[in-house]
C-alpha cells in the first residue's frame, strides 16, 4: 500500500535525477460494481531511453494501467509519476511529456486529418516550421499526404491509426505510450512503425506499449512486464526473466504461457 511518506521519498529521488520515465507506486483500481480489482497494488518503473513492452492476457489490466498512466482513469490508490511529474498534482506537465495512441483510436470523424493534426500541434505548441517538417515526414511515411485534407470519417481503421500515430509523435514526446499499436497496420506500416519506435528511443526518448504479439515484444523491447489478473507477475529483460524462471533458451511465448497459466506473482 502506498503512503504519503513514500511520496516524499519519490519526489526527492526524482529531483536528484534518479526518476524513471514512468513510475507507478501501489496503483490500485476497481471499476464501479466490479467484485475484483482491475489493477492491484501495481509498482512499475520504466526507465528513460528504453522500449518497454507491457504484456498480459485479455482482461489482465493492461488497458486499465495505460488509461491510468495517461490520465483517462483515476486510480483508487497509489501514485503515478511521469517524467518526474505527479499526474494527480500536475497533470498538464505530465501530459506534455506524453504522446498517446489508444487501442481504438476514435478520432473526430468530421475533422480532416490535417485539422486534427493542427489541433494537436496547437495544443502542444509545436511551431510552424517543426510542424511542417514532422508532418511531411510522417504523412509521407504513412502515405497519407494526399488524404490529409479528407474528412477522417472517410478513412479506414488503419488510416485512422496512422493519423493518431502521427498526432502522438508530432511534438516528439519524451514518452510515447501505445495500446496495441500494431492492430490495424499493414505489414509495411508495421515495419516502419517498429523503426520509428527504435529511432524515437535512440533520440533519448522512451516507448511504452502493450501488445499481444509476443514476437514484436521479443524483437523490440529492452524490458517487458507481464501483468495477470491485475498484478505484475514478471518484469525485466528477456534474459532476466529466463534466468529467474530457470528457463534459459525459452521463447517469450513459452515463458508468457507458463507464467500466466500459473498465475504466479512477481517478486522484486
Amino acid at each position: 500500500m502506498y503512503s504519503g511518506e513514500n511520496k516524499i521519498k519519490v519526489e526527492h529521488s526524482l529531483v536528484k535525477g534518479a526518476a524513471g520515465m514512468i513510475r507507478l507506486q501501489g496503483v490500485t483500481k476497481r471499476y464501479k460494481g466490479a467484485s475484483t480489482d482491475a489493477v492491484r497494488s501495481l509498482d512499475l518503473e520504466v526507465r528513460p531511453g528504453e522500449i518497454f513492452g507491457f504484456l498480459g492476457p485479455n482482461g489482465a489490466g493492461k488497458t486499465t494501467t495505460i488509461k491510468i498512466i495517461v490520465g483517462l482513469l483515476k486510480p483508487d490508490q497509489g501514485q503515478v509519476l511521469i517524467n518526474g511529474h505527479d499526474l494527480a498534482l500536475d497533470p498538464i506537465a505530465a501530459k506534455h511529456a506524453m504522446g498517446f495512441v489508444p487501442d481504438k483510436p476514435d478520432l473526430y470523424p468530421r475533422l480532416t486529418a490535417l485539422e486534427y493534426l493542427n489541433l494537436i500541434g496547437d495544443v502542444y505548441g509545436v511551431d510552424a516550421q517543426t510542424r511542417r517538417k514532422r508532418l511531411d515526414y510522417y504523412l509521407d511515411m504513412f502515405q497519407l499526404t494526399e488524404a490529409a485534407g479528407d474528412l477522417i470519417q472517410s478513412f479506414s481503421r488503419g488510416m485512422q491509426q496512422k493519423v493518431a500515430l502521427t498526432g502522438a509523435l508530432l511534438h516528439a514526446p519524451a514518452l510515447f505510450i501505445l495500446d496495441e499499436p500494431m492492430v490495424g497496420l499493414d505489414p509495411k506500416s508495421s515495419h516502419q512503425f517498429k523503426e520509428i519506435m527504435r529511432e524515437h528511443v535512440r533520440e533519448g526518448n522512451t516507448v511504452f506499449f502493450s501488445t499481444h504479439v509476443l514476437e514484436v515484444a521479443e524483437q523490440l523491447c529492452h524490458r517487458v512486464g507481464i501483468i495477470n489478473q491485475g498484478e505484475l507477475i514478471a518484469c525485466g529483460t528477456m534474459d532476466e526473466l529466463r534466468s529467474k524462471e530457470g528457463r534459459e533458451g525459452s521463447s517469450l511465448e513459452k515463458l508468457f504461457l507458463e507464467l500466466t497459466d500459473e498465475g504466479g506473482s512477481y517478486e522484486k
Binding site: M98, L107, Y108, L111, D122, V123, D127, A147, G149
Partner: protein, 555 residues
C-alpha cells in the same frame, strides 16, 4: 425466421430506446428515478395540447361533415394526415435506419437474411411511428366513436387501421429507399439528405404558416376550422386518389358494421400483407448490395487536397473554439436541431409581413411608436438567453463528443481551457444566430441600431452565464454512450433542462419588464439584466470551481 426477426427486433428496440439501461437504473438500482418524472412533466403540456387539439378538431370536423352528409370527415382527415406525414418523413427515418446506422457491420456477418434485417429495422421505425400517431389518432378515434355511437366493429376496425396504415406508408418509403440505394450510393450524401429532411420540415411549417396568414381573415377559431375543413375536403379527395389506403382505413371505420366497411378493412389487411412481402422480397434481392456499396470507404476529391497545404498555427484556446464550432456545425444531426430556432422564430415572425393580411401585422406592435427602446433591447437580450438553451450547444457539449472525448482528456489542457473554449464557441454561434434573427425584425420595426446593440451586449453577458452553467450540467452527467449522434442532442436530458431553464429565467425577467412598464421604471431594465447576468455568472463560476475538476476527472 419469425423468431429470429422477433429477437432482432427486440434487441434493436432495446438499443434504440435504451430499455435495458433504463430497467437497470430505474428498477434494479432505483437510481435516477427523477429523470423520467422530469422528462414526463416537461413534455406533458405539449402532448396534452396535441391530444386536446385532436379531440376538439374531431368534434368540429364531425359537426361540419355531418352538415353535408359526411360525418366520417375526421377519420379521413386524421388517417390521411398521419399516413402522408409518415410517408414523407418516414422516408428519411427508414433510409437512416436501413443504410446509415452503425449497427450494420455487426448485423451483416450474422446468419440473418437481408429481408429479416429489414423487417426488424422496419419494426423499430414503426414502433416510433405508432407512438407519434397515437397522440393524434387515439383521441380522434375515441372522440369519433363517442360522437357516432360506434360499437365493437368500429373498435376492431379502428385498432387494425391504426396498426396497418403506418406499415403501408413506411413500406412504401422503405421500398423507395431500397430501390434508390440500389441505383445510387446515397451513403455518400448522408449529410445532405439529413439537411434536406430537416429543411423540408421547416419549409412545410413555413408554408403552412404562410397559407394561414394569407387565408384567414378573422381571429375567430370557428372561421379557421371551417376553412381548414373545406380545404381539407378537396385535399382528401385529391390525395385520397394517390394514397387509397387512408380512404380504405377511414371507410373501414366509418362503415364498421356494414359489408362496405369489412370490404375496406380486407383491402387494408391485404395491402399491409402484400407490402411487407414486397419489402422482404426486395430486401433479399437488393438490400445487401446497397448496404455493401455504402460501407465502402469514400474519399474526398481534389477539393480538399489544397487544404492539406494549409498549415495554421494558432493559440490552443482558439483552436479548441474552432474545433468545437466545426464539430457542431459539420454534423447535420447537431446543427439542424441546434440552429432551427435561430431561423424558425424570426421567419415565423416575418412571414406576416409578406402575407396579404398587413392589417394584422404584429410588427405594428413592435414599432417604436408602441414599444419603448429599452423594452426592445430587453427583448433582444432575452432572445439571446432563450436561444443559448434552445440551441443545445452548451448543454450537450460533452455528450456530443461521446467516445471521442478521450482526445481532449489525454491532451495537456487545463479545465479552464476546456470549459472556456466550449462556452466561447457556444457564444459565437449564439450571437451570430441571434443577430441573424433580430436584425431583420429590428429593421422592419424601425428600432434603430442602439436598442439592438444594447440588447446584444446584455444578451451576450446573460447567455454567457447560462452557457457556463449548462456546460457544467453536461459535464456532470454527459450522455457519452450513443451510436446515433442524434441521440446526443435529441434524447439528452441536459438539453431539455437547458431549454426549459433558460426559458423559465427569460419568463421571469419578462415578467419583471412588464412590472417596469406598469410602474414606468423602464430605465431599470439594463440594470436588471446586468444584475441577472452578474448573478448567473457568479453562480456558474462558483459551481464550476467547486465541482468541475472532480467531474472532469471522473469522466
Amino acid at each position: 425466421m419469425k423468431s429470429r426477426v422477433w429477437s432482432l427486433y427486440r434487441a434493436l428496440l432495446n438499443v434504440n430506446y435504451g430499455w435495458s439501461a433504463a430497467k437497470y437504473y430505474y428498477l434494479r438500482k432505483k437510481q435516477r428515478i427523477w429523470e423520467p418524472i422530469v422528462i414526463g412533466v416537461s413534455i406533458a403540456p405539449a402532448a396534452g395540447f396535441v391530444v386536446w387539439l385532436a379531440w376538439t378538431m374531431t368534434e368540429q370536423l364531425y359537426a361540419g361533415g355531418l352538415s353535408f352528409g359526411q360525418p366520417h370527415l375526421p377519420l379521413v382527415t386524421g388517417t390521411l394526415a398521419t399516413a402522408v406525414l409518415s410517408l414523407f418523413f418516414g422516408f428519411f427515418y427508414v433510409l437512416s435506419a436501413f443504410y446509415f446506422s452503425n449497427d450494420l457491420p455487426v448485423l451483416l456477418p450474422l446468419p440473418l437474411g437481408s429481408g429479416e434485417i429489414l423487417l426488424a429495422k422496419l419494426g423499430v421505425v414503426l414502433t416510433g411511428q405508432y407512438l407519434l400517431n397515437a397522440f393524434v389518432l387515439v383521441p380522434m378515434g375515441i372522440r369519433y366513436g363517442m360522437l357516432a355511437e360506434a360499437g365493437l366493429g368500429y373498435a376492431v376496425s379502428a385498432l387494425l387501421s391504426f396498426l396497418i396504415l403506418p406499415v403501408i406508408s413506411l413500406v412504401i418509403a422503405g421500398v423507395l429507399a431500397v430501390l434508390l440505394m440500389r441505383l445510387v450510393n446515397l451513403s455518400r450524401y448522408k449529410d445532405q439528405l439529413t439537411w434536406i429532411g430537416g429543411i423540408g420540415l421547416l419549409v412545410l411549417v413555413f408554408a403552412f404558416t404562410f397559407w394561414l396568414q394569407n387565408n384567414v381573415q378573422s381571429d375567430d377559431p370557428m372561421v379557421l376550422m371551417e376553412l381548414l375543413m373545406n380545404q381539407a375536403d378537396g385535399l382528401i379527395r385529391e390525395v385520397g386518389k394517390i394514397f387509397p389506403p387512408s380512404v380504405w382505413a377511414a371507410q373501414a371505420m366509418a362503415y364498421a358494421n356494414q359489408a362496405l366497411g369489412w370490404l375496406n378493412l380486407l383491402y387494408l389487411i391485404l395491402a399491409g400483407a402484400v407490402s411487407l412481402a414486397v419489402l422482404y422480397f426486395l430486401g433479399e434481392k437488393v438490400f445487401l448490395q446497397g448496404v455493401l456499396a455504402g460501407l465502402e470507404g469514400t474519399r474526398g476529391g481534389s477539393r480538399r487536397k489544397q487544404a492539406s497545404r494549409d498549415l495554421e498555427v494558432r493559440n490552443a484556446f482558439w483552436t479548441l473554439v474552432s474545433t468545437e464550432r466545426k464539430l457542431f456545425l459539420r454534423d447535420p444531426n447537431f446543427a439542424l436541431n441546434g440552429l432551427v430556432g435561430y431561423v424558425l422564430f424570426p421567419v415565423m415572425a416575418l412571414l406576416p409581413v409578406f402575407g396579404k393580411n398587413l392589417g394584422n401585422n404584429p410588427f405594428d406592435l413592435l414599432s417604436l411608436d408602441q414599444l419603448h427602446p429599452l423594452l426592445a433591447a430587453g427583448g433582444v437580450a432575452l432572445f439571446f438567453l432563450v436561444m443559448s438553451g434552445l440551441s443545445l450547444i452548451p448543454s450537450t457539449t460533452f455528450s456530443r463528443e461521446g467516445r471521442y472525448l478521450w482526445i481532449m482528456r489525454s491532451l495537456p489542457l487545463s479545465l479552464g481551457q476546456v470549459i472556456g473554449s466550449r462556452v466561447a464557441a457556444a457564444q459565437l454561434i449564439n450571437t451570430a444566430g441571434c443577430l441573424l434573427g433580430v436584425l431583420p425584425i429590428a429593421y422592419i420595426s424601425g428600432w434603430g441600431v442602439l436598442p439592438v446593440i444594447l440588447g446584444a451586449i446584455l444578451g451576450v453577458l446573460l447567455a454567457s452565464g447560462a452557457a457556463l452553467l449548462l456546460t457544467l450540467l453536461d459535464l456532470s452527467r454527459p450522455m457519452l454512450d450513443w451510436v446515433n449522434p442524434i441521440k446526443a442532442v435529441k434524447s439528452n436530458f441536459n438539453g431539455i433542462v437547458g431549454a426549459f431553464g433558460t426559458f423559465g429565467l427569460a419568463f421571469l425577467l419578462g415578467a419583471l419588464f412588464y412590472f417596469n412598464w406598469q410602474t414606468e421604471t423602464l430605465w431599470l431594465i439594463p440594470l436588471e439584466l446586468l444584475l441577472a447576468a452578474a448573478l448567473l455568472t457568479a453562480l456558474a463560476v462558483l459551481l464550476v470551481r467547486r465541482w468541475a475538476p472532480a467531474l472532469w476527472a471522473r469522466l
